[in-house]
């Protein structure tokens, strides 16, 4: 009795937070199960299509193509690095895994941008919306990445699609944040000048705010890609496959050699993606 009085919070019954979330997810699943299956089929289709396309190319030609794109978007050194990096990945027999990882990133980032950019823009228009969205972003970003895997699996079952959804959730916040930040940073007098010339909201956005916010937005895109890459590897735990799958397999079998090789492949991809998006950001700053 004395014990209980000394520690009154013990008298508080155990709050059923976890159980409630379980119930909620079950309920939601019942409500939108059809929808999630539709989305899953759709994404899986696209995923397979793109991966097949990438694998249909003779690897050497694809490597040269990607190196050329790197050259076009940034500079020669990065193009050279891209070429040899990809050759190394092919040489380590990780080519199909790398292609499926790249595909997942492409799709996840595209979805992130399609949702993140408009949300970021809207957050600068409506204060209330901003106030609602920002705490959610904090939540999304501080929640350990692994936690996303669980509901993703619930809705989309084990596999690539669940991994992709988790990746989208994880990689979207910087896009929203930096888009909002970039637009807010546009000098007020310039916005006023645009109004003074009678521009519509759309004209203000497309002719003044977005161009001036572009370097910041590109930083958001860069962040998004990097986060997507890291998440795609983690998501191997729920069957995402790709390079992450090799890493995960290596952990389970304690295969140091394979772990190192597939880890290296991830690093190479990361460097290529980072350098290309960063330099296109610098170009838009000039």
């Amino acid at each position: 009795m004395i014990d209980k009085l000394l520690n009154p919070i013990d008298m508080l019954p155990r709050l059923p937070l976890g159980a409630k979330v379980d119930d909620f997810i079950d309920w939601l699943l019942g409500q939108i199960g059809v929808l999630t299956r539709l989305i899953a089929n759709f994404l899986e289709g696209i995923m397979e299509g793109i991966t097949d396309l990438l694998l249909w190319f003779p690897p050497f030609i694809l490597i040269v193509l990607i190196a050329l794109i790197a050259w076009r978007l940034s500079n020669r050194n990065i193009a050279i690095f891209t070429f040899f990096g990809l050759v190394l990945i092919y040489n380590m027999n990780l080519w199909p895994g790398a292609m499926s990882t790249i595909t997942m990133i492409l799709i996840a980032v595209t979805i992130s941008l399609c949702i993140g950019l408009p949300v970021g823009i809207l957050s600068t228009r409506y204060t209330l919306f901003h106030r609602i969205v920002w705490p959610i972003l904090d939540f999304m970003q501080t929640m350990p990445a692994f936690v996303y895997l669980i509901p993703a699996v619930f809705f989309f079952s084990l596999g690539v699609v669940a991994a992709m959804i988790a990746t989208v959730v994880f990689s979207m916040p910087p896009v929203i944040r930096l888009t909002g930040l970039g637009i807010r940073q546009v000098p007020e007098d310039v916005v006023e000048a645009s109004h003074a010339f009678g521009s519509t909201d759309w004209q203000l956005l497309t002719k003044v705010q977005l161009p001036l916010a572009m370097p910041t937005i590109m930083a958001g895109v860069n962040q998004c890609i990097m986060l997507a890459l890291s998440m795609v590897v983690i998501a191997a735990m729920i069957g995402a496959g790709g390079l992450g799958g090799h890493v995960y397999g290596a952990i389970q079998r304690l295969n140091i050699g394979l772990g190192f090789e597939s880890g290296l492949a991830v690093v190479i991809l990361a460097i290529i993606l980072d350098r290309i998006t960063q330099s296109s950001r610098q170009t838009s700053e000039e």
Binding site: D189, V190, A193, H195, A196, F197, G198, L212
Partner: protein
């Protein structure tokens, strides 16, 4: 061209303007309203008329509400009360689309900090208003170039704003306005961010430009000299109210109250105009190494009877008269260093004209304006000085 009529314009910043009006009507001051009601009075009951084709200057110190007035005229700031009639349109009653239409075609604005678009070239900046109007690219380019030429920026179209000096940037700002050929120009402290010399130059050019384009211009400034120089009418604001709206002459000679009187007292132009303000650049100078004949030829070409001598660094050495140079030439002197008058009257650039009159009024040669480092800046010819005063000091009788 359009006439602007403003009736009882008021702007209260805060969520309870009714309370503020109540207090203002009882005669409370702006500060008391902030204290009692937490409402900030931007403008209270401002009424004025701007005639077609005139330059109307709203002058006031910071916080007097002048910038709020100009923003109410195109509703960048929503007026709390009052009517704004421009031409035959009631701007204060326009809906969003009418207002946009009005802003696109009828008026245009120049900003204190230029507010150019840094990601657009000078030409794209100039053509911005037309782009907003969805004018075709060809037409935009043509009109943009015309506007740039009008403000003296021909050939700068492909540069970016940050490659231009402040004065040039504001010319772009002006070109951006003129390109849409508005009836009204709103100029918000348009020259305040510029160096004094550039500012004066821009004022002169605005007046010349106005001769050509004849817009109705509302010009905001905190500088009374500027107001008197360019305004056809000047409204002086204090604490959100217009204390006097008059011609520059009347403001100088019949100040409406002690506030205006204090301003005007400070602005007696003979006290305000400095040596730097009235000096002219010397067309030619001689160097000590010059032979007397060279000096004579320089004088003859410039039709002057004496010439200032500087060293190669631009430091003033003295003055040589034509007479003595001729004598030296006859005597066959090698150079003019022997005949330089070194004790000549000089003034510093910040001396006022009043002080100029007091010093060395008997000297027969022009004043040399020399800065602290002895650099030769310019000359003041006495006749020009008087003429300048007569022109600048409006009706100081």
């Amino acid at each position: 061209m359009a006439r602007i009529e403003v009736k009882n314009l008021s702007k209260i910043f805060g969520n309870n303007p009714g309370k503020a009006f109540e207090l203002l009507e009882k005669g409370y001051t702006k500060d008391e309203v902030v204290e009692k009601a937490g409402q900030t009075v931007g403008i209270y009951n401002a009424s004025f008329t701007v005639e077609k084709g005139e330059i109307f200057v709203v002058m006031g110190l910071s916080g007097s509400g002048k910038s709020t007035v100009i923003r109410c005229l195109n509703r960048l700031i929503e007026p709390t009360r009052g009517k704004i009639i421009i031409g035959d349109q009631d701007v204060s009653a326009m809906d969003y689309n009418e207002l946009r239409e009005f802003r696109q075609h009828k008026q245009s604005m120049v900003f204190q900090r230029f507010a150019l678009f840094p990601h657009r070239t000078v030409l794209e900046n100039a053509a911005f208003g037309l782009e907003i109007q969805n004018v075709s690219k060809e037409e935009r380019g043509k009109k943009g170039l015309e506007a740039l030429e009008l403000v003296g920026l021909k050939g700068w179209g492909n540069h970016y704003p940050d490659q231009l000096s402040g004065g040039m940037q504001q010319r772009v700002g002006l070109a951006r306005c003129l390109a849409v050929d508005p009836e009204i120009l709103f100029m918000d402290e348009a020259f305040s961010a510029l160096d004094p010399l550039i500012r004066r130059e821009m004022q002169d050019e605005l007046l010349i430009l106005q001769e050509k384009v004849g817009k109705t211009i509302v010009f905001i400034t905190h500088d009374l000299d500027e107001a008197l120089k360019i305004g056809d009418h000047v409204a002086i604001m204090k604490d959100g109210e217009i204390v006097q709206n008059d011609t520059p002459e009347n403001i100088l000679t019949n100040p409406a109250d002690s506030y205006v009187a204090k301003f005007v007292e400070d602005v007696d132009l003979s006290k305000v105009l400095t040596a730097e303000g009235v000096m002219k650049s010397p067309r030619v100078v001689a160097y000590p190494k010059d032979g007397p004949r060279v000096a004579l030829r320089k004088m003859k070409e410039a039709s002057i009877s004496g010439i200032f001598v500087t060293n190669r660094k631009g430091h003033l050495e003295g003055y040589v008269t034509a007479e003595e140079a001729r004598k030296a030439a006859d005597e066959g002197n090698e150079d003019i260093s022997g005949i330089i008058h070194r004790n000549i009257p000089t003034v510093s650039p910040d001396k006022t004209i009043n002080e100029l009159f007091e010093t060395a009024s008997s000297a027969s040669i022009p004043y040399a304006v020399v800065d602290e480092e002895k650099m030769f800046k310019g000359i003041i010819v006495r006749g020009a000085l008087l003429a300048g005063l007569v022109k600048e000091v409006v009706a100081d009788d």
